[in-house]
Symmetry: C2
Subunit: 334 residues, 2 copies
């Protein structure tokens, strides 16, 4: 592999000059610049990233954290981010956290160790006090998930509004016994805008209250991620004496699991049990029972996230928080 000295030797110049043309420094005569360039070409020279990093220069790569790449919501989000970053000449490093705090730290350490210029967190596994320590090493932004009172830019959807309206929509459709599922380990009730999950739940609950309804704890399901989880939720619902007539599934994946198991057990969706998904995955419209769902603006969020990070890189100011709208897509399941 050719090094910078090889290029210098071939061009009959110093490594300093070669380094200057690599870095587009203006202080090089056109003539020498050309001879360096042709020498680089002739040798097929590419600067060794490790050596540049060691000197603390930019890496032109960004890390993006997601729980799991097989989840279409996240693969599309990452895709939107990567496409935008690509255009600007940045590489993207996808880090799957598998919902483990420790893996999220791996991504953050990439920043500390100067392997990336910034990290885009699409999910949140650690407490903010831990994450905020890493802000001194580079740029961090939050996408999709969020917290109140953090000092990094946020790109997110209006979860409260979306869930509030979706719950109202279910009432309008004639449902009144509404179950609720979430991926979280537990449901915490907090003030508005506190975080992603609390907002979803607050929107749900506020609509309930307006309809003079309280919470039925039997109708709350946590830890729901996969279609398999959805099937189990359906079974738990069937075991209940007092059954809900509709469920907000938390994701399309879970919604699919619920409708599948319902079909298996000959329970009619949406007649006997309505199912409301969240995400609007590409396939959701083409399922045996097309999902009524809350569409997340994946592309918009991904693009805005990438743009925000790019602005940060070029030292421009960015909005503290950018909020995209959720939208109810009415199909067959509710």
């Amino acid at each position: 592999m050719a090094t910078i000295s090889d290029v210098a030797k071939l061009a009959g110049l110093s490594v300093s000059t070669v380094s200057r043309v690599i870095n587009d420094s203006p202080h090089v005569s056109e003539k020498k610049r050309n001879s360096v360039k042709s020498a680089m070409e002739r040798l097929g020279y590419v600067p060794l990233p490790a050596a540049r990093q060691l000197r603390g220069s930019k890496t032109n790569t960004m890390a993006v954290t997601i729980p799991r790449i097989v989840n279409p919501f996240f693969s599309y989000l990452v895709d939107a981010i990567e496409q935008k970053l690509d255009e600007a000449g940045y590489s993207t490093l996808i880090v799957q956290t598998f919902s483990k705090a420790e893996e999220e730290l791996t991504a953050l350490n990439l920043l500390k160790n100067q392997q990336v210029d910034g990290v885009i967190l699409c999910s949140l596994e650690n407490t903010w006090s831990i994450i905020s320590d890493y802000c001194k090493y580079g740029k961090i932004i939050l996408v999709n998930e969020y917290l109140k009172d953090v000092h990094v830019p946020i790109v997110r959807a209006d979860q409260y509004d979306g869930f509030y309206k979706a719950t109202n929509f279910l009432f309008d459709e004639g449902y009144s016994k509404i179950a609720y599922a979430t991926g979280r380990k537990s449901i915490t009730i907090m003030e508005k805008e506190a975080n992603f999950d609390a907002d979803r739940f607050a929107g749900f609950q506020d609509s309930l209250s307006e309809h003079k309804l309280g919470l039925n704890h039997d109708w709350l399901f946590t830890n729901a991620h996969t279609a398999e989880d959805g099937k189990n939720i359906f079974k738990m619902i069937m075991a209940l004496d007092n059954k809900p007539d509709v469920i907000i599934a938390g994701s399309d994946e879970v919604a699919m699991g619920i409708t599948q198991e319902a079909e298996e057990q000959k329970v009619k969706v949406p007649k006997q049990l309505g199912v409301l998904g969240v995400d609007d995955q590409p396939v959701s419209a083409n399922l045996r029972i097309p999902l009524t769902t809350i569409r997340q603006p994946v592309n918009e969020m991904g693009q805005k996230a990438a743009e925000t990070m790019l602005h940060l890189m070029s030292g421009e100011s960015v909005p503290k928080v950018q909020i995209c709208k959720l939208k109810i897509i009415k199909r067959a399941s509710a």
Copy 2:
């Protein structure tokens, strides 16, 4: 950020000794090893990867190339690979090529520039003569796609056998006018085992021949990747005077597009047109028209690929080629 010298100073030892405990060298007394370790802990010290790479040491990361992460076949394949690699302490770098030769070179250059220890190619965009140049920089293996006469390990499925049997299956089901779609830009006919696409097509064609049937060029469709492409294919089929009665769609994505457009145009699947997918994506069973499809052994291939790469890393010998079986899953669409 703490450096190796900081640790050495705090421990009252030389950097050499610290480096030795970082690299698990046996030539360090237990006592000093402990004091180094506690110094590292106290400072929260992590070796800077760039510095280690510069000295040519292992990176413990692997690159995996795929055309596009939003394609579930590839996201599941990557996932299987990453999980296995994780267990062995390796990180995974996902490189989307967007089917561009140039982006594939990016991944290969990672190897040349010592940013990864190996690359797992799940698709093939460059000619082999270009790729083989990179073998001197580290380990390369081929997964999913393949070529004949390459000198790197291959993990693949038996495309010929799968497509041969699938075509026979279609005949058994009573179809006889079989159309064929592929993601390739063109269909090339080559000897058996030449490559992925040629094998698929050869399997298809051999079955045709055995049924005394020739090729109808109006029934061959290229460049089919997305559901959108599937819709267009359906439209092209409808414009034909002599229509096929079934189509091998090349992927479940394309199959979904075809069935969707068929529904829209009130054409009955599988009555008026049968549709055979390829992949067996998780959702394929739960579509409005559940797909009959050729299942690809994604997990098996991913795991074998990762294992093969790990064996290569530890200098063990590996089989030149490992072949997994394709399987026909009969559902509603054909």
